[in-house]
Amino acid sequence: MASLQFRNVEKNFGSVKVIHGIGFDIADGEFTVLVGPSGCGKSTLLRMLAGLEEISGGTISIDGLVVNDVESKDRDIAMVFQSYALYPHMTVADNMGFSLKLRKADPKLTADRIAQAAKILNLVPYLERFPRELSGGQRQRVAMGRAIVRDPKVFLFDEPLSNLDAKLRVAMRAEIKALHQRLKTTTVYVTHDQVEAMTMADKIVVMQDGRIEQIGTPLELYDRPANLFVAQFIGSPAMNVASGTLHRNADAAWVEAEGGIRWPLPAGAAGQDGQAVVYGVRPGDLSLGGGARAVPGEVIVVEPTGAETELLVQVGAAQIVVVMHGRTDVQPGQKIALAVALESVHLFDPAGGATMRA
């Protein structure tokens, strides 16, 4: 159990700077997810925490102790790799007990710990098998078992589910979360999948190009994204956006987009009349309906998934996605009117993409 502090952390690969002065804290027992597109520096940051990459600038502390110059093995961390990185010549039990063996721990203690971890992870029948005799999900569990057995201060996960098929990924996601709830070990988890981030995290750190875009709980990020990038990155399907000009008169406010489409705004929306803005609305905040302020569109594609129906709709020059709960008899080619949930509309500054708040 430990808290973590990142202070102005930088990383250079030669003359290329990949992490630009990152700082944030992770509380004891927290499940933090670093998320962002490929190349945003999230894995590099994790590897710096693990001691696998040198820290070019700033400090990383574990429990208040700066670990910049502390070797990986002395940081008391355990890491689960995307490729599992199991020792192929060792049995499952030996894989899990390797770190304790290196520390010359009491064999009885080692055996106890292995048995305990195997029980938690349902690996008891496989202890004498070799990694090559296991399925992907089982290998992933062994990798987790190897981490658990050490009882480290911090668990690090580097895209641990990327190599699993979709169904197994969902199952393992729940397993990892349940494991954290049970062990309460501080966890840092790296993924490019925002669904994983949303479903697992206590706290999400959204990164792009080596910088932090926003830190917050999953719902904070979803409801109050700090900028256009976070707004579009978090949430699936992604938020619909349209560029336009803000207009307001005595009665109402709206954004006029290309093709004369008027996207309605609540009366108290931020911004001046005539200002260029980016209008954002989540697919779930649109619904079929009429009214004076409804937005006209034409259905292009209907994608029923059972519980929900996704519509791809042409609105003016833009194509937007609408998610409807339940089913619909809307057909492709049909003209529809879309009602906007005004309280859930987002406005962004086109220069820099920062969220505009009233």
Binding site: A78, F81, P131
Partner: protein, 282 residues
Amino acid sequence: MKLKWKAVATEAKLLLIGIPLLIWTLIPIYHLFLFAISGRDSATSGRLWPKEPTLQNFALVFGEKHFYLEHFWLQLWNSLLIAVSVGVLTLFVATTAAFSISRLKVKGGRTVMNLALFTYFIPAAFLAVPMYKTMGNYGLLNSQWALILAMVTIASPYCIWVLKQASDKLPWELDEAARIDGASPLQLFRLVYLPLMTPSLVAVGTYALLLAWNEYLYAFLLLSNDRSVTLAVALGNFLAADDSPWELLMATGLIYALPPAAIYYAFKRYMVGGLTAGAVKS
């Protein structure tokens, strides 16, 4: 049906290449065998099978009952001792070098490896005299160490290169996982690297061993005492006289050729990899 004819044609073409190649390879060996089981007078008779095949030659060899065979057992032992020493030493040098270059990424490691490989641009025969001189400087002439060290020198660059290539294929995450698990470089080497490299190690060790076993030039040059030379050199000495005992030379040669064949056969399965299956998802 047409497809079948095509398959037959392909097969025939392969046989057409394969059979001559097989004969080409086997004729010298058959010749060796033929001489070895022929009597002294009938050895060069030109028959495909001797009139009176005999194992007499082998009895003479094993009993050291000829001037040239006085030290047969000792020389065979020398060959074995030197070959095994070269194999073990080369393996040690090449494994540690490949580990440092490939896994520890020691600075300048690649340059050292390439420089070592560069020595192969110069034919070994050209290096024989400098090597002789060097061993003289070390005061090792006529010591079997001279030959052992020379052969290790010759075998190492290739072995380092082969092992380095094989090491590069090991997943890097294994090293990182081991480091996080608390392994020192030496523990990483012993507990993770060596077990995973076993197939390559066997292949490379066998190569170095056989290279030393079959070496003639350096053995001839660096060893001169009848009691310290290898059997390969002793075989060469058969030809010193005008009336060489060919049948004994061939019998000894046949015996000398057996251990390499046995080694190849024994370690055949190691030459194929597959041990790393299951380490990482690929």
